[in-house]
Amino acid sequence: MNSPIRTWRFHGGVHPADGKALSNSVPAQRAPLLERYTVAIQQNIGAPPKPVVQKGDTVKKGQLIAEPGGFVSAPVHAPTSGTVGDIVEVPGANGGAIPAIEIISDGKDEWGSGLDPIPNWKNTDREILKKRIADAGIVGMGGAAFPTHVKLSPPPEKVIDTLILNGAECEPYLTADHRLMLERTEAVLEGAAIAAKILRVDRVFLGIEENKPDAIAALNEKAGQYGVTVVPLHVRYPQGGEKQLIYALTGRSVATGGLPMDVGCVVQNVGSCAAIRDAVVEGHPLIERYTTVTGTPVANPGTWILRFGTTVEQALTFAGGVKARAAKVIMGGPMMGFAQTSLGVTVTKNSSGILLLQWKETAEYTSNPCIRCGRCVRACPMKLLPGPVSVMVESENYDEAEKNYVMDCMECGVCTFVCPAKRPLVQHFRRAKAEINAKRRAAKAKQA
């Protein structure tokens, strides 16, 4: 596919079987209203929000139920109108239990967010728009859940010249962003235009893997009028990795340990863009999202518009349950998602997919020694040496691993995907990163 701008090819990467055909042609369906939602209080990276409602309070749909606990934090809103129940514990997607606010629906589903629509955002002050995005609780919906208003507030000394919209959706099986770009094309583009206004940039790229030709065509039709350039990219995982995407679109490489804004870029997920538009133009805070429920065991794979606080069990019920034995339930995609042991896990702002895998499709790990085949080295998009570094971690030599840049690992899973010895490399790197972070924190605490 012809590209409107010059693109660059990032190092390594893989082509896993993408499984997107299961769900990419099914239009997104709105989930029926549930009787009860359990909305996780912390759905963002950063400070945990604080609940502002009491048991027995009546709330409207979109009303604030937990306020941000700091600048890097995002508020949470009621998914429907009704009464507040208990603060309950629900299983978290990353393991462990997390607190959640129970909302019992009154069946009326009445809006009452207290946020006024700003249809005339073009003539609105940038700070007001930014505040609206913060108030609407918008976070990075591609996976990291980093509060969007923080990303849109780069320190004054950083010159930002490019806004990048991440529509790559390189994770196999997931089609939520694909459906969103196809069905809410203008919302995505308008949200991008709002973000571009806030950042004062006029270069806006939308990177999208070329396996979504229908979405590309739909976007191209409207992109010009919002000042967005749609750039089809080769299909290669992890094309949607933040640093990889920036490199692919601009040829700039973010320094190790650096941030996208160091090279003048801000990256936003397309889902977050649509949420920005809804918050500004409609005055609707973020209470629902496109989520793909898929996998070969699922009876009717597809994409659903789910409100936060919906459980995996309910989401699976919408999809008709399972028609074959599932060995794994994964929040997210097969490369970076988290396996779950409970169906009580709830959908949150970064739940891009609920994926079920059968036994024969899942990976098995061993503790075989590294045979130094070099496949991981060839494939690692961060150009690390996963094999040798994993050996250092195995011998608990974390200092050595740190010197060999284990902190640059983005846990994309590529190395583990290709390893013929079936070593659990990502697991080693997660452990090393946790150990090194703990050590750094301890050193900081000592200094203070």
Binding site: A339, P369, G374
Partner: protein
């Protein structure tokens, strides 16, 4: 579907049966056993050529080495109470490559000693597949050459069966050293053709450059080896011997003769490329191949042995940690200005 909870006639996965493990949850399906099986397939042309030229001798040696290697590894895992590892076929690969490196007259006990040395001493004592610093087959060939020089240099002309000493193409070089005419004769096209096809004396599997090349291309097509290693090794030998031949035509024959004779081909494609004992980075692989090429030329031209490929591979194996450190690759986003200019490429791996 008894395992699933039924709710409004909708089946859901039973939470207790779900598997918890870290991402990624899918793999590309290649395993060590599959890699080794593919290597075995790529060895088939060389095996066929050895049987074609050396008939029953080749069959005998192949069967001996393959079974001794497998038994040695199985015995070792039994004795040390480890899980059996013969299922990954790596012992079989070692056995076949070792067999291809033995002379047609090799007696059964030579095969036994070579196999046990390769599997137990070179591989298992270092911790098994993945931990061994030296290529088992190359190290075993070197050990046998040093310890049993007699039987290791009983060469037979192909398909005649009469044992003669020193009748290999490389032995021929030493016999005529000093005469530029004789050297030129060695490099004559019909002679090179014989070398290319393999109708000459030598270890059973190393004589046919053609057969090895076919297998070698297979290795590259399957992406089983770092192509940089054979390329760098063969190119280095070509350039090195080419220069020496031009400078002193009576000292050594032309570069093609060197590349096609002895263990260069099998060494370049099947032994130097052993992934466990070669550098892990692409640049390291280039350097590694070059080092083997230079060492081979030095041993062949000025050394005491007519052949030097196995020696060179073993020496280069020992240099792998050093090469890996010098050919360190920096992560994506590493900029030279982020560290001292004096510290560039001083490897982080220790």
């Amino acid at each position: 579907m008894s395992e699933e909870i039924e709710k409004n006639n909708i089946a859901l996965p039973e939470p207790g049966s779900l598997v918890l493990s870290t991402s990624p949850h899918v793999q590309d399906g290649d395993s060590i056993a599959r890699i080794m099986a593919k290597v075995l397939i790529c060895l088939l042309p060389a095996v066929a050529a050895s049987i074609w030229f050396f008939r029953f001798d080749a069959v005998r040696i192949l069967v001996y080495c393959a079974s001794f290697c497998i038994f040695a590894e199985y015995g070792w895992t039994l004795a040390t109470r480890q899980a059996a590892t013969i299922g990954d076929y790596s012992a079989l690969v070692t056995g076949v490559i070792l067999a291809l490196n033995l002379p047609p007259g090799a007696p059964w006990w030579l095969c036994l000693i070579g196999s046990v040395f390769a599997i137990i001493v070179v591989k298992e004592l270092f911790g098994g597949l993945g931990q061994n610093p030296f290529n088992p087959a190359a190290a075993a060939r070197v050990a046998l050459l040093v310890g049993f020089a007699g039987p290791m240099t009983q060469w037979a002309a192909p398909a005649t069966g009469s044992l003669v000493s020193g009748a290999t193409p490389l032995g021929a070089i030493h016999a005529v050293q000093g005469s530029a005419d004789a050297m030129a004769q060695l490099g004559a096209p019909d002679n090179l053709m014989k070398l290319f096809l393999g109708n000459v004396g030598g270890s059973i599997g190393e004589t046919s450059a053609l057969a090895i090349l076919i297998g070698g291309l297979g290795l590259m097509a399957f992406r089983l080896i770092k192509w940089q290693i054979p390329l760098a090794m063969i190119a280095t030998i070509f350039v090195f011997t080419g220069i020496v031949h031009l400078a002193a035509p009576g000292l050594t024959p032309g570069p093609l003769y060197h590349i096609l004779s002895g263990g260069v081909m099998i060494g370049a494609f099947f032994m130097a490329t052993d992934m466990v004992t070669s550098p892990i980075t692409p640049l390291g692989a280039l350097v590694f191949g070059g080092v083997i090429g230079v060492l081979t030329c030095i041993i062949r031209i000025w050394g005491a042995y007519p052949e030097g490929v196995s020696f060179s591979i073993v020496i280069a194996n020992a240099l792998v940690p050093l090469i890996d450190r010098m050919c360190y690759i920096r992560p994506f986003g590493w900029h030279s200005h982020s560290v001292s200019a004096l510290n560039i490429r001083r490897g982080e791996i220790k």
